[in-house]
Symmetry: C2
Amino acid sequence: MRAGIIGTGLIGRGWATAFARAGWDVSIWDHVPAVAASALSSIKTALDDMAAVGLVADPAAAAARVVVADTLSEAVDGADYVQENVPENVDAKRDVFELLDKQAPQGVPVASSSSTIIGSRFLSGIRGRDRCIVAHPANPPHLMPVVEVAPSPWHADAFVGETCRLLASIGQVPVVVRQEIEGFVMNRLQTAVVNEAVALVARGVMDPADVDAVMKHSLGLRWSLMGPFETMDLNAPDGFLDYATRYGHLYQAMGRDLHVADAWQNDTLQTIEDRRRRDTPRAAVGERMRWRDRALMRLMSLKNEL
Amino acid sequence: MRAGIIGTGLIGRGWATAFARAGWDVSIWDHVPAVAASALSSIKTALDDMAAVGLVADPAAAAARVVVADTLSEAVDGADYVQENVPENVDAKRDVFELLDKQAPQGVPVASSSSTIIGSRFLSGIRGRDRCIVAHPANPPHLMPVVEVAPSPWHADAFVGETCRLLASIGQVPVVVRQEIEGFVMNRLQTAVVNEAVALVARGVMDPADVDAVMKHSLGLRWSLMGPFETMDLNAPDGFLDYATRYGHLYQAMGRDLHVADAWQNDTLQTIEDRRRRDTPRAAVGERMRWRDRALMRLMSLKNEL
């Protein structure tokens, strides 16, 4: 199987890593050739790091399956699946989908990594828009397997099914967003937490670092193993409905008291920035990012074992 | 050091486990003697399970430090710290705090595990209310270390400091809620996610199991390692403020589009319950709960290593 990866920033590199790990051949292309070239070494490093925690058996062979194409056309030649990762911009998406639809093999799904732009904003004028769809990954895709497969008004169900099947076959976890909605689901849930967290700092309720502590030492632990519904299901003797009956009124009352729609104030943002720099000085950020990626790999490995 | 644990349901047992693990003597008491007696074997099992993943060195010695007191008075006799865990009910909390304030040694913090009732609702008439405070744990406290230390209008700062010091000394992670607020912080962040998730199911956007998948295969993974602010800080080249400048308008626009204040509908709740039973039949729930607890222990062990 062969994947064509268009755009090789962080997301494109992650996709290439995920496909190569699963045994696919991968052609990558970027409109800036140097970016595509530098992606190769990033992909190799990611595969080596994953091999160190048992997530890839033969990282050298996987890395060797990734090649840089000279043109977009060459990148999608013979592809069984195409994933677009150009900048988050309606015109850029529209332009590249015009080209991809013309040049990708007939009958092959062409997916966008769009995280904030719904498909109908850039797919309306595409002739083969029935095979074009959003497949929004988490960042980075090779370490967080969920992919939101989101329809446009013109998608064909067969391509949704085929996209899900292919993504599952490489070890990703496809989920279907059944209607076009701003932010799909992942970013809506993230926004709910982030906006309430910003408001709590703005209102002087808690120090920013302590808000982070609440998440990573309680809610985040549960949610890394099971989502909100399963968490509730296992927290009442007779399951989710029992839980909702006991505590639903509290959730609904508190929901009306949340401040997720408050505007962000500059002084609040500065307070958070200052606290972050106190805990992780500028010079230590790179090391912390590497820690995060290694930690995600260890966590992925633990979850596989569980 | 000695802890007095009042009320030995799931939360009280977890607190006893946490204190015993840290080398404290623990006296537990429940107004139903059989509940306190059964707590002993739960605590022993939890300590054995934790020992199996390296979280306790000598589980038998730790379990032997926990004794059942015959009376509330005996449970707090000689205590350096008292933690109340009676049912979530204003009258029950008020009554037990009347007794605890009279019988706990002078100068010792008396803390409530209250998760939904702010301190001013049950502490106003307590003579020693300056030493009474909410110390709201995650559930269970021995596996999720964060504790929200929440003031009442009458707390003395010295007791807040002492409570935080003692909790940190046993390996918990105390965070201070600086003003009385419904749901403290943990439950507000949980509500933000849960309510938007329920609304997404109600609106037909996504299957409930897929909502759980989005959380546990993306957001939850990041948030188990770092909270929302650190996550954002590491996702832009120049840190949190850079991230907020690039994407803040999207968060604010989406925040206005969230449905966290929607009322819950019975058919939505039934849809979620049905889907949960399809994935985890009633007969398999007990095994899944044990899986969850073992998984949390493995995760705690991994985080210690990281």
